[in-house]
Amino acid sequence: MQSREFAPHEILLPVKPAFIAFTLVAALIVNLLPWSGWPLALKPDFVALALLYWCIQQPRKVGFASAWLLGLMMDVADGSLFGQHALAYSVLAFAGIVLHRRVLMFTMRDQILHVIPLLLVNDLIVLAIRKIAGADFPGFSYFAGSLIAGVLWPSLCFLFKLPQRPTPDPDDV
């Protein structure tokens, strides 16, 4: 897994804030796609995934304010209780910011083992809030999205790092 592309200490160009905003809005749009049936049951929370990525990669640029506001957006779009995603995403951002030095030290496989529990905690917070509000447990397929999100983590890292890679100089020998 530890190829040169995914080496932890790769030298990258500085990230553009516009690109961060673009990826977060894109993740929100993907979440808002008209999913139904079994894809809906297996759908990872792309906003949580993108948010976690940026909190780990750029903890000084993406943090609680964006997490909280994105959470509110998701609550409105889902028609769920106001503040449940906001709370869950805030905790996710906290975990990402606190763990960012640690996670980046690991290889991709071990990063996934960090990402999946964090996303499961995110799910558990939403579940706990809804349980308190009186809903039923929707079954264990509820957690499937987070496991799939963990599988998507390497490709997400690759995609989100593309604009930061310096273009190879053709004159370079």
């Binding site: 030298i11 990258l12 500085p14 809005v25 929100l28 749009i29 993907v30 979440n31 808002l32 796609l33 008209p34 999913w35 139904s36 809906l40 049951a41 759908k43 000084r60 943090g63 609680f64 997490a67 909280w68 959470g71 509110l72 957006m73 409105v76 779009a77 889902d78 028609g79 769920s80 209780l81 106001f82 503040g83 449940q84 906001a86 709370l87 805030s90 905790v91 951002a93 906290f94 910011i97 606190v98 809030i129 809804r130 509000a133 009186g134 809903a135 039923d136 929707p138 509820y142």
Partner: protein, 299 residues
């Protein structure tokens, strides 16, 4: 990595402080929303902000649908047209009979001095997507307050009741399906007129009749229609059919499972029923408390 020197000494509050602040704010919002329903205004504003994103997300699907429609073969269209013509003919015959019956019904109700049924009108809407909240059974339709949709209106498809409008946004509305755990429909058995309350179970394709005594006459295959007692659904709309009756003397009530008639989980076009319920107002709590109380034992 960074071209500007990092602001070492101006990092703002510690992450834990920020987390506590955000959590407290979220919990305050949760309590204000779940307990007191204060936040409908904020929800409306946020819904307007997010509406373009929702339309953008739905655009590719809608475009594919339209492109697919464009490439329908002529023979398919002709077959469909012939089928629709035939159906229209059958329906118009039924409609003539219905008009005669409706006129007769009005006349009979006048003779009996019974209350006239209120006229109904419908708004056609399209289901945009199923609700993403895994804890509730909802769909979102493409008509909202701008199209005169109000919370509480019943929603049907061509076969029967699918749910009720529960939240209205400017251009969208949320319909809670009858399979939602917190949704209840007052129904009546067509075969013998027994009334009951039909509740959702939270899973697609299953409904449950609540609080039915063990000896009540419900059988497999019984049709259930709305009884119109709650003033939300007009009477006589098909809702469900009884699929499984389980009478276990160990429990207080019979366990009666039903299957919804309408395609609750699969529908593209729905009708929102606009009807004025002219039932007399419910007695207020004050009037209730003025009733003579039963003398308590021992007093």
């Amino acid at each position: 990595m960074e071209y500007t020197p990092p602001p070492f000494f101006k990092r703002g509050p510690a992450p834990l402080t920020r987390l506590l602040f955000c959590s407290l704010l979220s919990v305050a919002l949760l309590i204000a929303d779940a307990r007191y329903h204060y936040l409908d205004g904020i929800r409306q504003v946020a819904a307007v902000i997010i509406y373009p994103l929702q339309r953008l997300a739905g655009a590719p699907g809608a475009m594919f649908g339209r492109i697919g429609e464009f490439f329908v073969t002529q023979s398919a269209l002709r077959t469909e047209n012939a089928r629709l013509m035939e159906k229209d003919l059958q329906n118009s015959a039924a409609l003539q009979k219905y008009q005669a019956l409706a006129a007769e019904n009005v006349h009979l109700r006048e003779l009996l001095a019974a209350r006239q049924r209120s006229p109904e009108s419908t708004i056609t809407a399209e289901v945009l997507y199923t609700g993403r909240d895994p804890f509730a059974r909802r769909v979102v339709i493409d008509k909202g307050r701008q199209h005169d949709i109000r919370a509480g209106q019943p929603v049907l498809d061509q076969i029967g009741v699918i749910g009720q409008v529960t939240r209205v946004y400017p251009w969208l509305a949320e319909v809670t399906l009858i399979t939602d755990k917190e949704q209840a429909v007052p129904v009546q058995n067509v075969r013998n007129g027994l009334r009951a309350v039909l509740g959702g179970t939270g899973s697609d394709g299953h409904l449950e009749l609540k609080f039915i005594p063990l000896n009540a006459d419900f059988q497999n295959g019984d049709q259930l229609v709305t009884s119109g007692l709650d003033g939300v659904y007009p009477s006589g709309l098909p809702v469900a059919v009884v699929s499984n009756v389980e009478r276990n003397a160990a429990y207080l009530f019979a366990r009666i499972l039903c299957t919804p008639l309408a395609g609750v989980a699969s529908h593209a076009q729905v009708l929102v029923l606009n009807w004025a319920n002219k039932a007399p107002p419910q007695p207020s709590d004050q009037e209730k408390s003025q009733r003579p109380k039963k003398p308590r034992r021992g007093s």
